[in-house]
Symmetry: C2
Subunit: 205 residues, 2 copies
């Protein structure tokens, strides 16, 4: 879950890092109420109690603020996945937990708790660096699990590794990308387990 | 063929049948230019040159007309799939061709040629009978291919048949449902073959 620090006015001469964080936290709060699309930097400045010029000292544009929020949310998903996978004893179990954690955390963060779908949709639809980086990160985690399973003899080795990783990523993609996930919310309960079973059958040596 | 939607009133004779077809064809043309959402039955009546009352003699509502158009489009996809599968010699080849034809025809009909996405989105989003019937039909075709492959020894038989069919349908779902397909259009070229390979590996005995 994301922590939302209360939007307090800046103290005198705060560290740049802390002001940035303050703006991001306040913007996240604001966007989650009023939506990303309809909010301007002026609205945001007014609501935070900063001047527009002051915000522009830290962020080039509304998208840059959106990007920072998106990065935070996506990092939280990655952390949740890493935590879920950490104590799994086999690559099979790692894959199952990865898929489950990804879908659960993603659907919670984007659709239930924070209503940050609006930003996530822009991020995914316009290929923001945070969204591209997230997909890349998921692919990398997948690659490591598959490689480990191949080395231990748990998974087949005939199919080229990159082909295996890419096709499994395609299976997960509708649950990774929030634009697709929004239409899959009735499936998030059962689909990860059912698709994991299918993928694991395809990985059998 | 797709089940006839229950909301469509029964045909009352050949003449009526032809008027219905005329209204559906004109509505399809109109919707593909002006969109389904924004058009009222009055707009439609004006554009076709019929009175609103006359249209209501044949269709209960705008949705009933939309349903009829949707049924037509979905029937065309099913026909294209059946044709593609017809001369395939093995269940493996049938599955490949089914997936390919489904994605190609679906993305053409909904997104390129006719711009009927608007109707398809309502149909899928609101679970119209035509959309539910279509998904049911695709599942049934899948079931028959899997069953044939199990009988010929080409596919594994350990997994319960309904579990196999359901999980493969989940893999195809983002390409069956136009709400998801709209975000997958950059994948339609390669994904069907890549996902077919993965699914066929999962079906290996």
């Amino acid at each position: 879950m994301i922590e939302t620090p209360p939007s307090t006015p800046p103290s005198r001469g705060p560290a740049e890092h802390s002001v940035r964080e303050q703006i991001v936290a306040a913007a996240e709060e604001h966007f989650s109420h009023y939506g990303y699309e309809k909010t301007t930097v002026s609205d945001l400045a007014k609501s935070i109690g900063f001047s527009k010029a002051y915000i522009y000292k830290f962020f080039d544009s509304k998208q840059t603020i959106g990007e920072a929020i998106c990065s935070k949310v996506l990092s939280a998903i990655v952390e949740a996945i890493e935590e879920a996978v950490m104590n799994a004893s086999t690559p099979t179990e790692k894959f199952r937990r990865m898929f489950k954690a990804l879908v659960e955390t993603g659907s919670n963060l984007f659709f239930n708790d924070r209503k940050l779908y609006d930003i996530a949709a822009h991020s995914a639809g316009e290929g923001w660096p945070s969204a591209r980086g997230y997909a890349q990160h998921i692919k990398q985690m997948l690659l490591e699990i598959i490689r480990e399973g191949r080395e231990s003899g748990e998974f087949e080795r005939k199919t080229p590794l990159d082909e295996t990783v890419h096709s499994i990523f395609l299976v997960m993609h509708p649950y990774v990308n929030p634009l697709l996930l929004q239409h899959n919310l009735d499936l998030v309960e059962d689909a990860p387990a059912q698709l994991s079973n299918l993928v694991l059958r395809s990985l059998a040596p």
